[in-house]
Symmetry: C2
């Protein structure tokens, strides 16, 4: 910048003014400075600018797994909405690196003006871990630290919806693929509770043999097909669409017809679900509202709002398709 200033015969300040489009610069001066900038191929140093300004204009999105279609769609939505607020978004993948992903995040060498954290299994966050006044919104499962804003999905209600759908079809041995009976309240556990709840309300006995833990991806679902059949299930709800798509294929490989013999329901409504054969019945969370709410909360925080943590839960809707059309 000093080089540019010297070459243009002005001060660094004037260069700064030109760079930032301050209107009170004479056209002639501006031209000189611009020429000088081009001549030395000047590139502003964004680190210095960020240090001085105290903000970067970038918000971070921490996800545990970019590979999940749900995550990709989330990232897309968040980028779009934040762009309207004048922010850029950088995504980092945590891969469940440490016990407390949050902690790892706060040590990020990048400076974000705010942080959106989305993990499917966010374990206990020791209260006080989050620095005062650092704008953070958590998407997904709840944290113990209630000083943080949080936007969740109605996992329990959503899965109850799916389960009830199969019970309504007259199925009585509905499996839950990708379920978990753990204590920590993560996404899998919440959904499993919804499953159990729906059975209870319908007066159907809960059979632990029908809860099949798997990896939450298509290979996991595929591998679970054998167990679904072995357990004598006559229907299956899955923890995610990816699992459901894998399961459907696994069942087909074993000569089991979907939906006739085993209707299948997923969760998330990823794009490919409507192009599968058969198309997949699924539970669709209101993603737009999820994103809009989270971003609005974050923007408020960045604007200085310092109230207590807020909680908002978005609802889900059942999308019936061929995989449960009897």
């Amino acid at each position: 910048m000093a080089d540019v200033a010297k070459l243009a015969g002005v001060s660094k300040m004037t260069v700064s003014h030109v760079m930032n489009g301050h209107h009170h610069v004479r056209a002639e001066t501006r031209a000189k400075v611009e020429a000088a900038m081009a001549a030395v191929d000047y590139r502003p140093n964004s680190t210095a600018r960020a240090l001085r300004r105290g903000r970067t204009g970038v918000i971070g999105l921490a996800v545990s797994n970019i590979h999940m279609p749900y995550t990709a769609e989330l990232a897309r939505g968040v980028s779009d909405v934040l762009q309207q607020y004048g922010y850029r978004v950088a995504i980092e993948e945590t891969r469940g690196r440490s016990e407390s992903e949050t902690e790892a995040w706060l040590r990020s060498p990048l400076s974000y003006d705010g942080l959106l954290i989305s993990t499917s299994s966010l374990h206990r966050v020791p209260p006080g871990t989050l620095p005062q006044g650092y704008p953070v919104v958590v998407l997904g499962e709840s944290m113990d630290d209630l000083s943080v804003d949080h936007v969740g999905i109605a996992n329990k209600a959503g899965l109850a919806l799916a389960t009830r759908h199969l019970l309504g079809l007259g199925r009585t041995r509905v499996a839950f693929v990708g379920g978990s009976l753990g204590e920590e309240t993560d996404m899998q556990v919440s959904r499993t509770r919804g499953y159990a709840q729906a059975l209870r309300h319908a007066g159907v006995a809960f059979d632990p043999a029908l809860v099949l833990p798997t990896m939450s991806d298509a290979p996991g679902g595929h591998a679970a097909a054998a167990q679904v059949l072995a357990a004598g299930a006559d229907g299956a709800v899955c923890v995610t669409d990816s699992v459901a798509l894998g399961l459907m294929r696994g069942l087909a490989d074993r000569g089991c017809r979907v939906p006739d013999q085993v209707p299948v329901v997923g969760f998330d409504d990823i794009e490919l679900s409507q192009f599968a054969s058969p198309t997949l019945t699924t539970v669709r969370p209101d993603k737009d509202e999820l994103v809009a709410t989270a971003v609005a909360m974050l923007v408020e925080r960045m604007g200085g709002f310092d109230g207590p943590g807020r909680l908002r839960v978005v609802q889900c809707e059942l999308i019936p398709r061929e995989s449960t059309a009897l």
Copy 2:
């Protein structure tokens, strides 16, 4: 930091030494400083540190569309490999925002130590756009600016492989879904050229009516099914697996059986392709080599290597599955 220093009764420098684990600090002093850091909930300012050190330890990955499974898998691979080198990765989505995405990138408010740029259609980059000495590696289509390292996929050869596969099945009216006959060499155009080349080598006439432009996603493929049938195709290669999956469903919706009536081939080998019904024959680029090569080049550049731009192309392999099993 000044607060911590004062509270611990030392200088800022000592705090810095403790923070950075310099060993020549007396245990007693270290303890005092650590206590003070905890007491004031001290958080180092990464921007200031980056400004002073001249590096952030983060590299940027620019993608045009996170939503594409291919992109997600790329991001995953890059993160994994760069982590071994001690770097973190931040992903930004460009969405083809400007004529020159590269330009937009270099204005990023975040400071990266290096940049990986992956776009499916990177248009002309005016030479000189990239700053001297800024480590950049481009993934995918080639740029005019040869001063930049570049790792490509053998798009043309890969699609020729796919096309030849269908010709070898005795098909003579093979459609290309998602093709493009444009002038700018983007991914779609390269793949279309591979299609045309395979036809030529086999002595099959090239019929422009069989090149069907679509969006490069599942809805695009689904919508193209009608045109594939209208064009009297007896086989279809697709620009991506997403398109192929959409197409297969579209054909099924019209009572057309895959593979008997119209065998289908995709490109990318995304995870869900092996769980579709029928499973999808596809062209698999050597993703591991792509990532390893790109990262190695970037690391060399960040290490000071300043030679001319290098070009490396990774090969593809045909993965036959049910969608072409006659």
